[in-house]
Amino acid sequence: MTSDGMPREVAVRASGLGKTYRLGERLRLGGAFTKRLRREPVHKRTIDALDEVTFDVMQGECIGIVGANGSGKSTFLQILSRTVVPTRGSLTVRGRVLPMLSIGAGFHLELTGRENVVLQGAILGVPRRTVLARMDDIMEFAELKRHADTPLKRYSVGMQSRLSFAIGMRFPADIYIFDEVLAVIDGAFRDRCLAEIERIVGSGPTILFVSHDLGQVARLCERTLWLEHGRLRALGHTEKLLERYRTRQTPPAGVDDGGP
């Protein structure tokens, strides 16, 4: 396992990673297909959601990812969690990934809380025995012990996100991904989640943490990665990087001025 040329301490290595999306409808009447039949020129408009991104994430590190909307954060995390296939480059991942790209993705409203935990476990590939063993722990963390056998459609949004989070925190993995998920939960529970992430950070696993809340990034992450227009703008010490990031951010991010 060590003779693969990769230093042991690297958990995620991106090299020349890129993802290109084609814009517009793929096929419809009057679209590109008909134009091709008529031998009219077809304009393929594309956008590089991610381009030439190269960096390493070390094992046991909690790395923050910041960037404006559309800077490629989610695309990168989708590639890492293997839902999306890159167009260029490669991404080497060492260990089990537990992605939390969205609160309650894969929840089924007709099933009970407990049944949903089993479902999530199966989707994430956690062994059934481990899922059952951690069931009580999950329900306790989510403060849902009394509602474990209630169908999810009777849960409030807050209860659903608590359950989602408890699953994300209590299932074992080597690499945890949190994509903006803390934004939707509030108050005391968010503080517990932050504390729990801090606890996980110290205990070995690697964490990739995306947030618009720079305070949270500063609290959790030693290093931070800054994406801009799909490219790696900077990677470095969170404090210094966020200083630059904040000043950079001041002009309204609404207008795309074509990059730096």
Binding site: Y21, S90, V97, A105, G106
Partner: protein, 290 residues
């Protein structure tokens, strides 16, 4: 789901260690096709949970529940008896018409309900496709398995009716093979429609109409021998024709049309290969397209 027994609340560390050790290193690169037998074999647990989920959801908040499984084929059977037997007086070669139609319908029932539900197996799981890496093929397969009651119930009814009418023969031993053939054919067809449906929503829109017409384009309500010329050729080109002929041979000992069997077997194999290639190709962009 019952409460977790206390003796199971402690994680079995050996189990966990094995789980952790599985992928030492994964290299994610651009690929043109993403599908593997391993997607299925390594995810049997997930398939089981998804099937249980689909079954539970299907019959929750439904008063009649599984009784609906009888309804659809039974209603069609009544319609066929009126239309093809009472009005058109179709010759079924000595077999009572109702029994003849029931055997055909028991195959059709699964194909139509499984492919109608299966075409939406990916679209209906948007969150799983967009936010998780669970192999998409598993979603479609689980959906097909959850539709199996629509095969087992009418097929059992057909076999019982045939036995009561005195049609029992040694051929019956091969009946499960015919049923497996039907499931394979349906799976191949559904893998294609489900993966195409992610990109083109026309597919699920067109399917109910095609299925409505399709019931008349297979030897379900009438024997294939009643047709000749072009219509017979068209019927032979329907891969379901061979499945139904095989099933009738098993249950009613009606001699099958050998050519139809051979054509249908070949078409099933081609369809399965096509499904593998198409699904694997589309799986790459499914999270982007859905």
């Amino acid at each position: 789901m019952t409460a977790t027994p206390l003796h199971r609340t402690h994680a079995r560390s050996d189990d966990l260690a094995a789980w952790r050790a599985v992928p030492p290193e994964v290299n994610i690169r651009p690929v043109r096709r993403r599908i593997a037998v391993r997607d299925v074999t390594a995810n049997l647990g997930l398939i089981r949970v998804l099937v249980a989920r689909d079954l539970k959801v299907k019959y929750k908040q439904s008063v009649l529940g599984p009784i609906w499984l009888f309804f659809q084929p039974f209603a069609l059977l009544v319609a066929f008896v009126i239309g093809f037997h009472s009005v058109a007086n179709v010759d079924t070669g000595g077999v009572s018409y109702a029994l003849f139609a029931l055997t055909g319908l028991s195959m059709w029932s699964y194909f139509s309900s499984a492919s109608a539900a299966g075409a939406l197996s990916l679209l209906g799981n948007t969150n799983l496709v967009r936010f998780t890496s669970c192999p998409r093929l598993v979603l479609t397969l689980a959906n097909l398995l959850a539709s199996l009651p629509a095969l087992l119930v009418p097929a059992a009814a057909a076999v019982v009716a045939a036995l009561m009418d005195g049609y029992g023969s040694a051929n019956l031993i091969l009946a499960p093979l015919a049923a497996i053939w039907l499931v394979l054919l349906t799976a191949a067809f559904t893998a294609i429609t489900a993966s195409l449906a992610v990109k083109w929503h026309d597919i699920p829109a067109a399917l109910p109409f095609l299925l409505q017409v399709g019931v008349f384009l297979a030897p379900i309500a009438y024997p294939a021998e009643n047709l000749s010329g072009v219509t017979r050729v068209l019927l032979t080109l329907n891969p379901l024709t061979g499945v139904i002929e095989a099933w009738r041979w098993c249950v009613l000992a009606v001699p099958p049309d050998g050519l139809a069997l051979a054509v249908s077997l070949t078409l099933t194999a081609l369809l399965a290969m096509g499904a593998w290639l198409i699904f694997g190709r589309l799986e790459v962009t499914m999270a982007d397209d859905i």
